[in-house]
């Protein structure tokens, strides 16, 4: 007898059926999936172009089933701008880490928002440089130990962590700015809603949209995955509050 089973869960169409290279407990896989789910739900996979950064997610183009660029370090917003200005009908997004977006690419990050460029940025903040092996990031917390802040980040020497969501929300061209986390189920649900809103903001032509995603990096934090998700909650969220910092005027 043939049993008809209802399909209640499947891999998003926009996510390729391949293994990722990410470490156990890494947040990138979750963020990738959320982006893919949103592309499916908005039915925009075939009109979307992504820009991968330099960093752990440089191989994003192996995981998402969309047209993609691999950009120079920090330059993804400029690359996305070039693409969007040629094809305004496309949906263009950048996916960037904290080194890419909050350090080497701050000029591009600030100006893409100031111009109100109709693109979306998914900004992964894990407070560390993952791909190069755990060096200090612009978002590394005060006191946090990394391979280039071995005694912990000392602000007198290394300055203070940068809050990109708050910074960009001051710019008139930024239409939707939010900070989310992917360290537990509740936060992941909120994260997906924010990512969807960000893409919708672009599709409606309202301006620049950016979602900062607090993400865990157990390997370079020298923690177990369980310790890492707790660390996001206990250390990162107090310094990087979650929520929407700017929403489009039309609501």
């Amino acid at each position: 007898m043939k049993v008809e089973l209802e399909k209640v869960f499947e891999r998003p169409r926009a996510l390729r059926p391949v293994m990722t290279h990410y470490c156990p407990g890494c947040g990138h896989g979750i963020a990738h999936r959320l982006v893919a789910e949103v592309l499916d739900e908005l039915r925009i996979r075939e009109k979307t172009v992504g820009v991968a950064p330099v960093g752990c997610s440089v191989l994003l183009y192996n995981y998402l089933d969309v047209d993609m660029y691999e950009a120079a370090h920090g330059r993804a917003p400029a690359v996305a701008t070039g693409c969007k200005r040629v094809h305004p009908e496309l949906v263009v997004f950048t996916y960037q880490g904290d080194g890419d977006f909050a350090s080497i690419g701050t000029a591009e990050a600030v100006h893409v928002a100031a111009r109100g460029e109709k693109i979306t940025t998914i900004f992964i903040n894990n407070a560390i440089y993952g791909m190069t092996g755990g060096q200090m990031a612009p978002t590394t917390l005060i006191g946090q130990k990394t391979t280039t802040s071995p005694m912990g980040r000392i602000p007198e020497r290394a300055g203070y962590p940068i809050r990109m969501a708050e910074l960009l929300s001051t710019l008139d061209g930024a239409a939707y700015i939010a900070r989310v986390a992917v360290n537990n189920a509740k936060h992941i649900i909120h994260a997906k809603k924010a990512i969807k809103k960000a893409f919708e903001t672009q599709i409606k032509g309202l301006g620049y949209s950016m979602v900062e995603v607090l993400s865990q990096c157990p390997t370079n934090w020298r923690m177990t995955p369980v310790e890492a998700v707790k660390w996001v909650e206990e250390k990162m969220v107090p310094y990087y509050p979650l929520g929407e910092f700017k929403v489009p005027k039309e609501g």
Partner: protein, 352 residues
């Protein structure tokens, strides 16, 4: 078509539009700011996009994005700004993206000055950015030539899927001359099937320069090199000027070649048999022309607005057969024709 009186900068900008360029990304810098100014006014008239980038770094990456999306794109700058673009240029070569870059050279190093110079020759012809690559480099010596070479540059960029550099100097950019715009001839170019337009009804396309597997990167670099070798075989352009009976040859490009033509007229009136070899492409360099010339002419005078950057290529080309002398001014000082006359006369009298 009627002739128009234009500066080199304006003429370069207009010829880009005539060649089908509808997207320009740039950042102002003297002595080429008339190019972005002209584009900001003219591109909207033809349905194009002018965007002032936040830096030259961003501008070249906007070209990366626009070229990857299939558009004919251009940027322009001057020496310090071109230095800032080198990273992006290397990435564009790596990702095999066509674009046209205009460098209206000024004096360096550092912030240098704002007067004409040719001191970016090494950067333009030997690489500039990191990695195994070359740009195709076109060096006009008149405003009219700047027009035709800029228009051709777009076809060459598309043909080779490689950035093409138009290498002028402050004089070429600022000088006004009557110019004529001939209709763009559409050469047969391969379709751009690799562009990013959304993966509708096809597998996704990818524009990248990253090849983590060394064997794959070697293969990729060999493909880039194959294109460079094809440029060397097919794209060399050179003007030989009054060389038939010449006993001394001036080697010069760009504005200096223009001045040298006046010097040659004066020298010939004085009975000095002098001619000129003028590279129009400085990469690929016309080594063969110099090699053949060295078989019958013993003296080459290289004149540049630098401290002698092209002189190395002339020496390579002449295969040690000619006596090579260099005369140059630098820092934005432009050699006058009488300086070239005096230097040539001195050289001719010498027993080598």
């Amino acid at each position: 078509m009627e002739k128009k009186f234009m500066t080199g900068n304006e003429a370069i900008a207009e010829s880009a539009i005539q060649a089908g360029c509808r997207h320009f990304f740039g950042y102002p810098i003297t002595p080429q700011s008339e190019i972005p100014e002209y584009m900001s006014k003219r591109l909207p008239e033809v349905g194009g996009i002018y965007l002032q980038a936040e830096s030259e770094v961003a501008a070249i990456n906007m070209l990366f994005g626009a070229a990857g999306a299939g558009a004919r794109v251009m940027t322009s700058s001057s020496s310090p700004g071109i230095s800032l673009m080198q990273e992006g240029i290397s990435y564009m070569v790596g990702a095999q993206l066509p674009c046209v870059i205009v460098n209206i050279m000024r004096g360096g190093p550092g912030l240098g000055g704002i007067q004409p110079s040719q001191s970016d020759y090494f950067q333009a012809t030997k690489g500039g950015g990191h990695g195994d690559y070359h740009l195709l480099v076109l060096a006009p010596h008149t405003v009219q030539e700047a027009v035709s070479l800029t228009m051709e540059a777009f076809d060459l960029a598309d043909k080779y899927r490689n950035p093409v550099l138009v290498l002028g100097d402050g004089y070429i950019g600022q000088m006004m001359e009557p110019v004529e715009f001939k209709e763009a001839t559409s050469s047969k170019l391969p379709p751009k099937e690799w562009t990013l337009t959304g993966a509708k009804g096809r597998p996704p396309n990818l524009v990248k320069s990253l090849y983590l597997d060394p064997e794959a990167l070697e293969k990729h670099n060999l493909e880039i090199n194959r294109k460079i070798q094809e440029m060397i075989a097919k794209e060399v352009r050179v003007e030989t000027y009054q060389t038939d009976d010449a006993e001394v040859i001036i080697a010069a490009y760009g504005t200096v070649a223009r001045i040298a033509k006046t010097a040659i007229k004066v020298l010939r009136e004085k009975g000095v048999k002098v001619g000129m070899v003028r590279p129009i492409t400085v990469f690929p360099f016309p080594y063969d022309t110099f090699r053949k010339m060295a078989d019958r002419v013993g003296k080459f005078l290289v004149v540049e607005m630098s401290l002698g950057q092209m002189v190395e290529d002339v020496r390579l080309g002449s295969c040690g057969k000619a006596n090579i002398r260099f005369y140059g001014r630098t820092g934005g000082v432009v050699p006058s024709y009488d300086e070239i006359v005096a230097e040539t006369e001195k050289f001719v009298k010498e027993v080598c």
